[in-house]
Symmetry: C2
Subunit: 492 residues, 2 copies
């Protein structure tokens, strides 16, 4: 089975697509640019969502639900935001189909059911939410509002890729309202920390925390904070963003509150989001040529047990022993599946669980029963160990923790060794072409230079890292003075 | 506060709207027919969703995600289904906005970004899902497929009501595929039982399980099973449906499987769904003129504790005592909020928690501390009891169970006493006009008579109850022979 996927060396991009399909994470759909998230992929998303949701609630946020549709007049109210998303909006113009008189059994859009005002399918929800907040916020007592929603959004992308860039995707978007700029900025930073915590400690993926340049900001934001991660091919991937929106949306929708001195002020805003794109990052960062490698803490299935037997007697004998192991593992909160189906041979099952990235596989045969051992294989390193059945559950629990840790450490080492300084243009381009990863270089701070570098080297400024050391230098392209290095990379 | 809502006697419909808004369950939105589910309402929905989701998983189902959009050519493939939903479809026709040259700062639909094929925003997902299943099902080994999704859907209703009928709503839709009709029918019935279990034992709302007449079937189904509930104004409300779809969708999308004898057969299908409409049912069935009454098992907040104090010393003294109580309640898994904010007086807080249907309210004053008691008020009956602080947590736990039970019993008694036989037309109409509820009457079994009765009496056949007693009789309208009574009602 594993032979059916392209190797990374051969074609990294094709490897990624093959992997998503073969591991049953997702499938292409009949709708251009949209995908189907299959049960295995959705179980992964559920685990990620549940952890994040708890983190949001632990930091005082509540969930709500705002409409899918944004009337055009609301959508265009915050001009920069509208301009930023206008080119990728799916638009509902009609509310009825009718029988097509020229085409029996077919339907057509009913021209008499044209909407007076077109509805944009939300690409993001600042507009609809801030038009609602206007009715909810009068006084400082109504603040802060700390609301999140888990929803689908649509951005009509021309070039789509499973998980990484799809016309429809699932995400969460937090939208908070505050009395002061300081409080809103603190919220923006807090949510960046929450994202970093989740991605590092649950997805085993180290990130760089930073701020975007004005060029790369969210449309309508005053500041965009981000976490950037690094894929195995040396390309960067933005894993999450947290925006300080200033008073832009409050002004666009006239949302004011009376403070303790009874003075009217515009409300301060943040928004922050992560999406199913994270699954793409997870796959690209950790997997190998045999399939997915999933971090135990969010894997839909942590342990697969495969019996190796001849005949029903051996199967029954093994099955009996396995029931004990399953019980012990479940008692420790470990998810486990005993796969004793007769449809497929053990070798096929091994390959299947490898493809799907199940962190631990246990094989058990008749002789193992005699010797009171099982064979335990860890997915990340493929190391197999013979382990006594006594204390197997505790062993597996420790092993899962170790896999989580080692996955993080390997990714961290890769990231650390792929942040390279460049002090002149040739070096800069050479690093991007040959080594990949982040290149730390001086930049003169202008949009024009940033654009020019993007054009010449296909690299963008991923971020200005938080707590960035200040250092005198000259711009990699223009030679103009600069006070700090920024991180460039080619990116997804 | 409670004075601000219309009484049921005065205007039941206005009472309902007032209640939804004042209790902070939901709000109107800027989008015609769409609502905003506010944090309190969404917390209720999350509780309901989590219980149902576990029930689905316990019966072997898994979650997935299919696209929001259905290309028109797929949508129209199953003709009856398409015909049934065509009149209420929101249709995406364009994928881009652009600056309006005649209107500075405004946007317009870009006429050059017209889709080749229109996309229907899913009103239900049989079409997109069965077009996908075609690629997933080849052999009997691929069956059954037991998949559910929690998503938003859009049905362009002309007359909308908060929760009960909105243009966009949230729901779950199960879509299963089976090798035999028997298995699919068993699944259909099983999911009806799951729904009945949930609505009765968690929402405290008794239901009648039955089958719809052909007239009232889901478009594209062979049989629609339903659970019907009864609101306080005597009108029925369909709380959930489970459809046996036969091979209709398999034929429309050419989904065949090879059986064990290697013969190709069309696959058998079911679908089943409940939606945020259930919240409307919950509100209408249980609440009173002072606000919501929520069943403890799904209430977002089970216990509110309000201190009654003068000065900071008393507040501190009470606060100390309450922390103990809060700890004890939480240890029993009870959700509790200590509301010691100074913004509002105790009377205002009492009214607020009544309005929001919090099952138990505890009030505690300085004298109560001296006497080592608290005042416990149950929301359903408004009975207040002085309870010793010793064992307060156990008392509250029992009280919550009792509230859940009594809410069910009251609703059950109301339902039972509102199923009334009618043996002639005058009696039938009189019952509908004066008593309300379900009227059990003979019907000749034809669509025409059913339509005529609907026209004359504004009542529909809600269902033919499961295990319906067979009884000779004559149709209430036509006098033609009939073998069983069916349940009529005016309905939401």
């Amino acid at each position: 089975m594993s032979k059916e996927i392209t190797s990374r060396a051969q074609d990294y991009s094709q490897w990624y697509n093959d992997l998503i399909i073969k591991s049953n994470l997702a499938d292409y759909s009949a709708v251009r640019g949209c995908m189907v998230i299959k049960p295995y992929g959705f179980a992964l998303w559920e685990n990620m969502r549940d952890v994040l949701d708890k983190m949001f609630k632990d930091t005082g946020h509540v969930n709500a639900y705002f409409p899918l549709f944004v009337p055009k007049s609301l959508f265009e109210a915050e001009e920069k935001n509208a301009e930023g998303f206008a080119k990728e909006c799916a638009v509902v113009t009609h509310y009825r189909l009718k029988a097509d008189p020229n085409n029996k059994g077919k339907l057509m859009v009913d021209p008499e059911a044209k909407l007076e005002e077109e509805l944009v399918v939300r690409p993001t929800s600042e507009a609809i939410i801030w038009s609602t907040y206007k009715g909810w916020i009068q006084s400082y007592r109504d603040l802060p509002l700390l609301i999140n929603q888990w929803v689908n959004v649509v951005r009509w992308e021309m070039r789509t890729r499973l998980f990484l860039r799809t016309a429809e995707f699932l995400w969460q978007e937090g939208h908070t309202a505050h009395a002061t700029a300081e409080e809103a900025i603190a919220e923006t930073k807090q949510m960046l920390e929450v994202y970093a915590d989740f991605v590092e400690n649950w997805m085993a993926l180290p990130v760089i925390k930073g701020v975007k340049t004005p060029n790369e900001r969210f449309a309508g934001a005053e500041d965009t904070y981000c976490i950037e991660s690094l894929m195995q091919d040396g390309k960067a991937l933005q894993a999450g963003t947290s925006h300080f929106l200033g008073q832009n949306f409050a002004k666009a929708f006239d949302v004011k509150f009376s403070d303790k001195e009874n003075k009217l002020n515009y409300v301060w805003a943040t928004s922050w989001g992560v999406s199913t794109r994270l699954i793409g990052a997870l796959v690209m960062a950790h997997s190998d040529d045999d399939g997915l490698i999933l971090p135990p803490r969010i894997a839909p299935l942590q342990v697969a047990i495969v019996p190796i037997y001849k005949g029903d007697d051996q199967k029954a004998l093994i099955g009996e022993k396995v029931q004990e192991i399953v019980k012990q593992l479940k008692a420790l909160g470990i998810s486990v599946k005993y796969d004793d189906s007769d449809n497929n041979r053990p070798g096929w099952k091994f390959a299947q669980y490898e493809m799907q990235g199940v962190p631990v596989r246990i094989a058990i045969g008749a002789r193992d029963i005699e010797n009171n051992v099982v064979e335990v294989a860890r997915r990340d390193t493929k190391v197999k160990t013979s382990v006594g059945m006594e204390g197997i559950a505790a062993y597996v629990k420790e092993l899962l923790d170790d896999i989580q840790l080692q996955m993080y450490n390997r990714a961290k080492e890769y990231l650390t060794s792929h942040i390279t300084p460049a002090d002149n243009w040739d070096e800069f381009v050479k690093l991007l072409d040959e080594k990949g990863g982040f290149v730390s270089a001086h930049w003169d701070g202008t949009n024009e230079t940033e654009d020019k570098i993007k054009e010449l080297a296909k690299a963008t400024i991923r971020c200005i890292p938080l707590n960035n050391p200040q250092e005198e230098g000259v711009c990699i392209l223009t030679g103009k003075p600069s006070k700090e290095r920024v991180l460039f990379a080619r990116a997804y």
